[in-house]
């Protein structure tokens, strides 16, 4: 059994190959359209990985993480577009604001058991959509804010091709995945796993559920805010519908579920599969066929949830266990 690819050298080799495949993608993909899609994979993959810290690891389903994403995104376009400040300053600002919102939502709801957190997060999105629409002085209202064309470079996060931005997004994804892996294998990760599997038993095991959930939520909100900030820089534009969209909420949850919430690499895998799939479907299927693509997508998701609720990661772990005799 020891020589099978479960050992450390094999794992490191696998990570290196995956990293190389990621960072060489612009070389072998060539078309800038594909690279743009990969930027989205990295940004939404990172955001979904962030969502998973609380939503997946602890099974505290948040339907409001788009708010953290939108806060980060608005921070960037307001800093760059309105104030003429560096987008790099917008990132920590977005983190701080997102963490404040996270504390305000987690503080009351995590002291209760049941679905209060999910319900409270559900209400967040419309609230922030309304704020973004009517606080025109800050957000430009429903018209939104556009970032003017600036000299290209790392300081402005504007580039002539999508490739440099891809590398920034890829670095974010890798860092977030390292964080997610570290959390998974940490004391907090074991506590979150206990909470996910059996809240009553975790109390009897002496786990302070409130503190564990708060820690995970704060980290989660911060990660999603950073991804949002880069998304704002990438689009160079933000309006309420883009920043605070149900679609983003749905995607963050879906990527994690399709990839597998138990795994630190699950959400990124989900984004890597679903985003190109969606783009391909909407590019190939036009007119009435476009609806067909959406339908196929929906049917696929229903089948997955029915037959493999642990996602592709779960499927993979079953195969892995059969092949190696070890749990993943």
């Amino acid at each position: 059994m020891r020589s099978l690819p479960t050992s450390r050298p094999w794992r490191i080799a696998f990570y290196l190959v995956a990293l190389a495949a990621l960072f060489l993608a612009p070389v072998y993909l060539q078309s800038s359209y594909s690279v743009r899609i990969l930027v989205l994979v990295c940004l939404f993959g990172a955001a979904s990985t962030g969502w998973n810290l609380i939503g997946g690891y602890a099974n505290q389903i948040s339907l409001g993480h788009t708010v953290f994403f939108g806060i980060g995104a608005y921070a960037t376009v307001i800093f760059q577009g309105t104030l003429g400040l560096s987008p790099w300053l917008a990132i920590p600002t977005g983190i701080v604001l997102a963490v404040i919102v996270a504390l305000l939502i987690g503080w009351p709801t995590f002291q209760l058991s049941g679905h209060y957190f999910a319900l409270a997060t559900l209400a967040l999105l419309p609230v922030f959509h309304i704020i973004a629409t009517y606080w025109e002085d800050l957000t430009g209202g429903s018209v939104g804010i556009s970032v003017p064309i600036l000299p290209s470079g790392l300081d402005t996060l504007q580039f002539d091709t999508p490739t440099p931005f891809f590398y920034i997004a890829a670095v974010l994804l890798v860092l977030v995945m390292i964080l997610a892996r570290w959390v998974r294998q940490s004391v907090l990760g074991l506590q979150l796993d206990a909470i996910r599997l059996n809240p009553q038993a975790s109390t009897l095991a002496g786990v302070n559920q409130f503190r564990a959930k708060m820690k995970a939520l704060v980290m989660s909100a911060a990660v999603v805010a950073v991804a949002g900030s880069l998304y704002g820089a990438f689009l160079q534009f933000m309006d309420p519908d883009t920043a605070f969209s149900w679609n983003t909420t749905l995607n963050l949850v879906l990527f994690a579920m399709v990839g597998g919430v138990r795994f630190w690499w699950g959400p990124a895998l989900g984004a890597l599969i679903l985003i190109p799939f969606g783009e391909f479907a909407s590019a190939q299927l036009t007119g009435n066929l476009a609806a067909l693509g959406q339908l196929a997508y929906g049917v696929l998701l229903i089948l997955l949830v029915l037959f493999q609720p642990r996602g592709i990661g779960g499927l993979f772990s079953i195969v892995w266990q059969k092949a190696t005799g070890r749990k993943l």
Partner: protein, 239 residues
């Protein structure tokens, strides 16, 4: 002969049901106290009130000069009063080792040392060879034992054991009794044990407390309590 836990006038109400009526008793440091009573007598309710899983409406639970009423349950566990649940509550999709390691985190701040401590605890309960097994693949007896191991991993001064022997065969019951008595003897844990298996309870208990309709109807030596007319009536339904 000092009391380690002093339950004082504990009352619980669920709507119109007066589930506990001014329950008072002392538990002596190092003893094994058995709790008996017909179904619905309030035994599990009493446990849940003591550790704060379902806080009582009134009364006190004195532990080392501190009232546990109002303390959140995970803090009660940390202070030294642990509990197992009536229906086995383990982390099904977690390894046996990690099931216990979760509790070891209370006194260990790294995963590694928590797992090491958990290994030692599993050994005490005879589960060491199942460390890497996923908990849901265990037999009922093993799962019940695992829950005891997890609770003991908290190094409690007092452990409340709620019907851990339900569904076990005679051999398994005897093994579990031996281990519980060993924990009591060698590790000094005070045990309060709810059990329907009277043979088992008579064997391990130093004293027995009988509950009926949420009130204490008898408390004393096992032989004495089993002959008590009110206890016999409660069980046979006379009146």
């Amino acid at each position: 002969m000092s009391a380690i836990l002093r339950v004082q006038d504990l009352s619980q109400r669920f709507g119109g049901l007066h589930a506990l009526k001014d329950v008072s008793f002392d538990i002596i440091d190092g003893e094994i106290l058995g709790i008996i009573g017909p179904n619905g007598a309030g035994k599990s309710t009493l446990f849940n009130a003591i550790v704060g899983v379902v806080p009582p409406i009134s009364g006190h639970v004195w532990f080392k000069d501190e009232d546990l009423v109002g303390v959140p349950p995970h803090e009660v566990m940390a202070k030294g009063v642990a509990k197992t649940s009536q229906s086995v509550q383990v982390f099904d999709e977690m390894s046996v080792l990690d099931n216990v390691a979760v509790a070891a985190l209370l006194k260990n701040d790294s995963i590694k040392s928590a797992r090491e401590a958990a290994r030692g605890e599993l050994e005490f309960w005879g589960l060491q060879s199942f460390a890497d097994v996923i908990a849901q693949d265990l037999t009922l007896a093993q799962r019940s034992t695992l829950e005891l191991a997890r609770a003991m991993m908290l190094h409690p001064a007092v452990l409340l054991v709620d019907e851990v022997m339900a569904g076990l065969n005679e051999v398994e019951v005897d093994q579990m009794l031996d281990r519980m008595m060993q924990a009591n003897r060698e590790r000094g844990v005070t045990l309060i044990v709810i059990e329907h298996n009277m043979r088992a309870l008579m064997r391990i208990s130093h004293r027995i407390l009988a509950l009926d309709y949420g009130a204490v109807i008898a408390l004393g030596e096992p032989a004495e309590v089993s002959k008590n007319q009110r206890v016999v009536d409660a069980y046979l339904g006379v009146e």
